[in-house]
Symmetry: C3
Subunit: 131 residues, 3 copies
């Protein structure tokens, strides 16, 4: 298992992590298989979406904030229940195909770490499965 650390700077922030995942794949020497990207946190998630226009991830953040407002009479006493809910809506994992040693992402796709209760120091765990 490999991992890397990232530092989020905002309360809600989608961070492109393509380069960090590709570096681990390249260092592994794996040419064909899958890479499993795992977020070991409960107030953050991961998604795959467009990297060309940063407004796309901003719109995802906006919709999630509208659907799951920060204050809405939640039971959880720590005050960050909305971050937990958004983490489950985006999910904690993403699996990407490795082809010819590279992450096989679509033309417009990137992997985004989804911070929902930052700023914080976060970990991403990586497992490579050769095929």
């Amino acid at each position: 298992m490999n991992n890397f650390t990232l530092h989020t700077r905002l309360h809600t922030e989608f961070v492109n992590i393509d380069n960090q995942v590709q570096e681990i794949v390249s260092a592994s020497g794996c040419k064909e298989g899958i890479v499993h990207v795992y977020i070991p946190h409960t107030t953050a998630g991961i998604t795959i979406n467009e990297n060309a226009d940063p407004d796309v991830v901003a719109d995802i953040e906006t919709v999630l904030n509208r659907l799951v407002p920060w204050k809405a009479g939640y039971a959880h006493c720590e005050g960050n229940a909305a971050a937990h809910v958004k983490a489950s809506l985006m999910g904690a994992t993403a699996t990407v195909i490795i082809h010819e040693g590279r992450l096989a992402l679509g033309t417009w796709q990137s992997l985004y770490f989804c911070e929902f209760d930052g700023p914080r120091t976060r970990k991403v765990w990586i497992k490579i499965i050769p095929s």
Copy 2:
């Protein structure tokens, strides 16, 4: 492929399944790899979220019930369309890294079976892929 059965007791209920999945991983002897946890139902899902405060999963249930009310003029004739929609929002699968023979979950994370149309007897399917 391995599997286990669980019995949900409520209409909407998130059930911690860490122990059942770990038992199957331990029995397999796999030390490094991934375990794929698959829900073969269409009115239930799976998510990874906080296990310390049970209010967290209660809040997820509450938000999902607000976003997808049980009655809202759905087309599906069986009356449980909301359960199907919530199943797709949470997803039917979770993949967790196996490290040193253990499920590699974050400090506060657990795997939750998400019942959206209980009580029922349910199955969980497991596939272990060594790395």
Copy 3:
């Protein structure tokens, strides 16, 4: 890595892709493992849900359209921000167990390609990992 092409005909459309995925699994000769199904687009997704009553996926489409309306003051200039958001809510990937050479789907389950900005010609990428 394998792939296939599909042509969606509507703006929002859930297309059953079980047969295409099973054909690739059968041709591979893999009897036990997992098949990773990957959508390389940012305005489409994938989900697993009921195939018996087509109203179920129609209800999922309806709820997603209500939660994420097509026009809602989005920042993304191309006018299809809602499609991107729905893609992230459903997710870009699904992993299914292969057992005895067959996709191990639940009795009522099928794999659905989720078109959110059609009609378009789309690709689905497939990676098989034997266990």
